[in-house]
Symmetry: C2
Subunit: 492 residues, 2 copies
């Protein structure tokens, strides 16, 4: 049918299909569709009006891909068998605690695409709101790890990783931290995700700079050559259940704490990490909004990590505003290069955050304390070793790409004098996305002011980049029609 | 598109549609689709391969119906505005209690089709498991009443109704109770539903006997003429939110107690009832499985009813096995007629249940006690007044139809001697549904034995009726391949 249902598997059948009639299939039934040894469970949509030929059924893009069939293939269709693990979801609905076996069965069925979207929604809803115990979160994390591939870097080898809970546009510290720490000898086979709701993920930014779609063999070779990589994790089937759950979680705007922890830690464990540093920015428009919330998250991350054999350290950081000057894949890549190359005007806030995170990783590695770690990180960056190391990684991944320029640039000017009192992270991210990021790599923003800056009327606040006039206009309409993203405070 | 998505509103757009690109629409986005003053919120499915002409979009059947547009109409499409009441759903996810205003806003948005299926699933999941307080259930009931039409039968007039929580195949007491009680002077404008998961609802059985698709004006006329009606409630927009919630609740097999109570009571209040008798059958394969569960449900039904100004009485009845001999619309209609006409072989269990329920309604009406009520009901049935009254109702609804015979009949024989020790209600219902009920009116079963009967090998257990050989074979395959529906206990 060529229909993208956003991963929900759908089978389309004629209303007068004899199979629908004799088997009693009606719209929204769950059907088992099989071909050879492969089978999927799909939701039925009934099609009236003869759009599908007699004796044929249609499949959504996701169903076609998962079943790996071509048009004209003979399919067998019957009622889906009952999914036993749904009894455990109902058990959780009714307030009971699940054991490891029950959680594993749920995650296995989710991974095998046996759950419909509403079933996943029910599971996520009753697990959110602090309804998962520490043991349940640990079991969920383990089940998500075993749902997919797991990288093994050799017995006793320490593998370092970093993660940011997110919510700050432009906060692209990962390439810097990986370059600094791997220059200092830490092994960091870093796999990152593309943007889900933000204008760029680390994989999007790195994709602007080099090749990131590496298989497991390539990743091993790059890490062998350079001691680190900066790759996209999406093609490696690490914690695949996570991707399926996140899709519904985002749609529901549900950030269940247990789910978040299992999601972050399962990806790290599956990637073979042993030591992970997690950055938790806190601010009114960041993902985590208060210090107590950050502390609770920190303690759960550390405890669940420990239960899974993963050493976790969290750093709670200032999440009041964006970090660096660029927002969007290419603009963030410019900031990363500027810091590594110690260019004039390289964003100091981005550099300082990267150094702070690197110092924590060094301290986790050698236990020499944060002061020593800070000094070591600063030296590695300042004497050019980090930049050389970054070039080594990029060379092993296929070489440095030239950063493109966007077709359309708009400069937005301050309407009056004032001090930048606050910047809304969420709306700023939305603005960059409306301009076309991350689908258009060069689209996004370059901030000309930061928190606390004095501005005078007519001074540029930011530049907006886009690849089409339509996206530029749409973004600017959003900027002017919504509440101000930059709060200018007048002093008198 | 002619696609039946089971009421989820879907808009289909080309992948290369300029609107998708410039507005950043991606699959599963919620879009506002409007035309003139009417608008819907639909889920986007992106269609690849040019099945939709340029400049066009497709709509699911439900979206087309709700928007009331014809092919070729100009539509305006934009991102859906955020649904504010979803914040209350998230509040409930996080374990907080909702107030009346919040619940009303949720129900209003559900009724206006502003919730996606996964959002409804999230709401239902966090309301199930006893997570709704008595006040919340009452607020939910009230909100569901105000979501739709409300019938008014005049100030101070007592309007009687009955309801069965369900789960027993063949338990078609409603037409009998309405005939007996309205013959005794009680006003009973009875509206019923069609089957949702059973082989027949009261509306399906009555549909085999007369016309049930009456509008409000017709119902008023019939009640004026006969003091009662036996109509289908589906076309009257009573508690429409209930229908939208039930659809997802069934798919999730979630029977949230609060939701059940609000569902039952909101329909009765919206229909203008003042006094309702509720039959709660209890048995191992009935909907309610234990006496304590039935008592808890009873107390909540009575309390929520009282808070909404509705007088509710519950009767907890034996739900161990099927009632009557026929299962399926036509076969149940035969039982109803046999009881009313005092035919030889009319099922005594069905008659006795109807008399018992009628006696409770008489007692609710005149307070003369159950003994007096029983005597009154028995007399009305025995002297033919109930049959005359039933004919009066049916005549006012358009006259009695002739009951059809099914094309295929199969007689299943007892494999050995024994006593019928148990009958599985759920599997029996499934068997009748596989035979084609309720879509094929004449399809279903006629039981030849009941609980406790002695049977000898070769004696018929039941007759199975179907309109196609395929459905007959499919039903019989289910019967033989599953655990026995009739447990034959050998005595020695």
């Amino acid at each position: 049918m060529g229909i993208d249902t956003h991963q929900e598997l759908v089978v389309y059948m004629r209303d007068d299909c004899h199979l629908c009639r004799s088997e009693g299939f009606v719209a929204s039934n769950r059907l088992n569709v099989s071909c050879g040894g492969r089978s999927i469970i799909a939701v039925l949509n009934v099609v009236y009006g003869g759009h599908i030929p007699h004796g044929h059924v249609g499949l959504s893009i996701s169903a076609l891909e998962r079943l790996r069939v071509r048009p004209g293939t003979l399919l067998t269709i019957k009622h889906a068998p009952p999914i036993r693990s749904l009894a455990s979801v109902r058990k959780k609905v009714f307030g009971h605690t699940l054991n490891g076996r029950e959680i594993e069965a749920i995650i296995n069925d989710v991974t095998a695409h046996r759950y419909s979207d509403i079933e996943i929604a029910a599971f996520l809803s009753v697990c959110a709101g602090g309804r998962l115990s520490l043991t349940e979160i640990t079991d969920l994390t383990r089940a998500m790890v075993t749902s997919g591939e797991r990288l093994d870097w050799g017995d006793g080898r320490r593998i370092y990783d970093k993660h940011c809970i997110g919510g700050l546009p432009g906060n692209r510290t990962t390439p810097l931290v990986v370059a600094i720490c791997s220059a200092g000898g830490l092994v960091m086979p870093k796999t990152s995700s593309r943007a889900i709701t933000s204008p760029a993920g680390t994989a999007d930014t790195m994709d602007a700079l080099t090749h990131v779609d590496l298989g497991v063999a390539d990743i091993r070779r790059v890490v062998e050559e350079a001691g680190a990589c900066l790759a996209w994790g999406g093609s490696m089937n690490l914690s695949p259940a996570d991707d399926l759950l996140i899709r519904i979680e985002r749609a529901l705007e549900l950030d269940g704490e247990g789910q978040l922890i299992a999601s972050v830690l399962s990806k790290k464990i599956a990637a073979g990490s042993t030591h992970v540093l997690i950055d938790i920015p806190v601010g009114p428009t960041a993902k985590v909004r208060s210090q107590p919330e950050a502390e609770r998250l920190q303690s759960l991350l550390v405890e669940v990590g420990a239960a899974c054999g993963l050493s976790v350290r969290c750093v709670i950081t200032d999440g009041q505003g964006p970090v660096g000057r660029g927002i969007g894949p290419v603009e963030e890549a410019r900031d990363v290069l500027a810091v590594l190359q110690r260019a004039d005007g390289a964003p100091a806030d981005l550099r300082d955050r990267a150094l702070e995170l690197a110092s924590h990783l060094f301290d986790m590695a050698d236990g020499q304390g944060l002061e020593a770690g800070r000094e070591r990180a600063r030296l590695i960056l300042e004497d050019g070793r980090a930049w050389a190391q970054f070039q080594r990684i990029v060379a092993a991944q296929g070489g440095l790409k030239t950063l493109p320029r966007a077709l359309y640039t708009h400069e937005e000017l301050a309407p009056r004098d004032g001090t930048v009192g606050a910047i809304d992270n969420r709306r700023l991210a939305k603005l960059a996305k409306l301009a076309g990021a991350p689908a258009s790599k060069a689209a996004g923003l370059r901030l000309c002011v930061g928190l606390g800056d004095q501005v005078t009327a007519g001074q540029p606040l930011f530049q907006l980049f886009s690849e089409s006039a339509g996206e530029r206009d749409y973004a600017l309409e959003y900027y002017t029609s919504e509440q101000p993203i930059f709060s200018l405070v007048s002093e008198r």
